[in-house]
Symmetry: C2
Subunit: 337 residues, 2 copies
């Protein structure tokens, strides 16, 4: 089998076998991995199951001309693990469902699978199930992840209360700036390190599993969400689910330095990228004021990941952005449809 063959040349069974061969031996909690009608996992004693699914669709979420397929594979798993991170869950397993254009090269298939398996290895998320079919249109890569968490430590969107402060991990706007740089046709080797970091964030977002787990176990957060569609959307989702309002302080939003630099070069607004660009996959938490000290102490174990207070929840409904003295509507996040 030559990698210059197309996946249609190989066929479904050979592709499944090829996928199977690339999957390393699973960890002990996997009773039965790939290759049967279904996979079997041993449960984690005393923990609940956490489940989520998300897909990447060619020409909606990525373009093959712009994003290497190993990054597509990596990202398809990353966006799902990010949802587990937001709930404070540990990852246990992943399932992959692929719809492939027949013209896709076997070498591209390999790259995509290897990208996914790289993150699967780093995050200890064994791939236990796979399904491959032909697509008469775009490449569709659908991932489901299974996690586990202790019953009373699960963080939802709906537990925030008026007065809680909003904290965000890392830097925002990086992913949107990275995408803008790629779309501008800027050559990758010529990007400075800050902007290269933005491109890396767009292509290989890092799911904040450790931060989410530590925050949940610290019992200091009342609500949490991952920023798949921008800070504005995340704040709105927490406010809506928690039946409160929110104010975000424009001056406090941690805009990624690369986003700031690329915005200056292109006369763009980096704050818009941070608020509405999406795909940063940082975490947003609501923290009661009396838990601030414990929460910040817990974040010391985040292995260098920074945390920034960006606003607070309010009794009055409505979601606002404060710029200096003025309140303006926060706007909405990135819409994939």
């Amino acid at each position: 089998m030559s990698p210059s063959q197309s996946v249609a040349d190989l066929g479904e069974h050979a592709l499944i076998a090829r996928l199977h061969e690339r999957v390393p031996p699973p960890p002990p909690w996997v009773v039965l991995g790939m290759g049967d009608d279904a996979a079997v996992l041993a449960p984690e004693r005393g923990e609940q199951l956490v489940l989520t699914t998300d897909s990447l669709v060619e020409d909606v979420h990525f373009r093959r001309a712009l994003t290497p397929l190993d990054a597509v594979g990596y990202k398809a798993l990353a966006v799902n693990l990010s949802d587990l991170a937001a709930m404070g869950a540990a990852s246990r397993a992943a399932l992959l469902s692929l719809a492939l254009p027949g013209t896709l090269l076997v070498s591209e298939f390999d790259a995509m699978v290897d990208g996914l398996l790289t993150l699967a290895g780093v995050s200890r998320t064994p791939l236990v199930g796979g399904n491959i079919t032909r697509s008469p249109g775009p490449l569709v890569i659908d991932v489901t992840v299974v996690g586990s968490a202790r019953a009373r430590r699960i963080v939802t969107r709906g537990g925030g209360r008026a007065g809680d402060e909003l904290y965000v991990t890392g830097w925002l706007g990086a992913s949107a700036a990275g995408l803008a740089a790629l779309q501008s046709g800027a050559a990758r080797p010529e990007l400075d390190s800050d902007l290269a970091a933005c491109v890396a964030r767009y292509e290989r977002p890092e799911p904040r599993l450790r931060a989410g787990l530590i925050a949940a176990r610290s019992r200091t957060v009342t609500a949490g969400i991952d920023l798949s569609d921008g800070l504005a959307d995340g704040v709105r989702q927490i406010a809506t689910a928690s039946r409160v309002g929110a104010i975000v302080e424009a001056g406090d939003v941690p805009v990624h330095p690369g986003a700031g630099a690329w915005a200056a070069r292109t006369s763009s607004d980096p704050l818009t990228w941070a608020l509405s660009g999406g795909e940063d996959y940082e975490l947003l938490f609501a923290v009661p004021k009396r838990r601030t000290r414990s929460f910040l102490a817990a974040t010391k174990h985040w292995a260098g990941l920074q945390v920034t207070r960006v606003g607070h929840l309010t009794r009055e409904p409505g979601v606002w952005l404060r710029r200096g003295e003025r309140l303006e509507p926060l706007g909405s996040g990135f819409v994939h449809f």
Copy 2:
């Protein structure tokens, strides 16, 4: 919102909300259903988790002109539940990931979701997660199901031994005959009841969850698989995974009466449909001879579902079809790629 609107008119958030509204209140084991970053399930004490994923792609697995969308929704869940049935697992929850062409009508979206939820209700498989995105090409409906089973009762493909007899549930070839009838342009109201049953099997296959569970608990089967790709493929998969050979008796294959009738009208071979047509979603089991009596006693609890001995596993490798005195290669199943 008028059902004559397209899904692109509505947008992602409104569609998710619309999906959410159609989902009934979940059973007690669902700690957190749709609407957050992930769903949360309480584990079943002493049971292992069984996981599988499968997708239906427009113009590969179905055509919108031929199959009503409520049947597509139903079938997308059914094919996954059939995998759980093959393992002897009970269903616990489902997740749905949709890639929708923007021109799909909201009424079509509703029909598809309602078709899936009908089977979800009947099979007690709560829908706990959903993800919706746009597709620039075909409609893709991806489902992941979670089941549970007692540790030593799980039935795999690989436990068969030489001498075990092969038993199949129900009648075969119905789905392929139903599809052939639809493709011929035969008007549905004019189909006789046997052929109408074939169309129903093609559109709304019945996952054999009860039969699978009872067979697994009876501890009389050494291997099992669901017939998604025809009897030939199922026998080959069990033989390969069990490192044995197999002989299928052509005269013993239970060909559906409707398949026989339509084959006679169209000069087709109904045995080919049964062996290679696929999509019957019946179960195939390997049963040691000394367990035959107990196995058949257990099948009395299958609520009228019949069981037929169709062949046996052999020490010599190779998978054969016996027609009268002659052995011929069994051929392969339906290939989706």
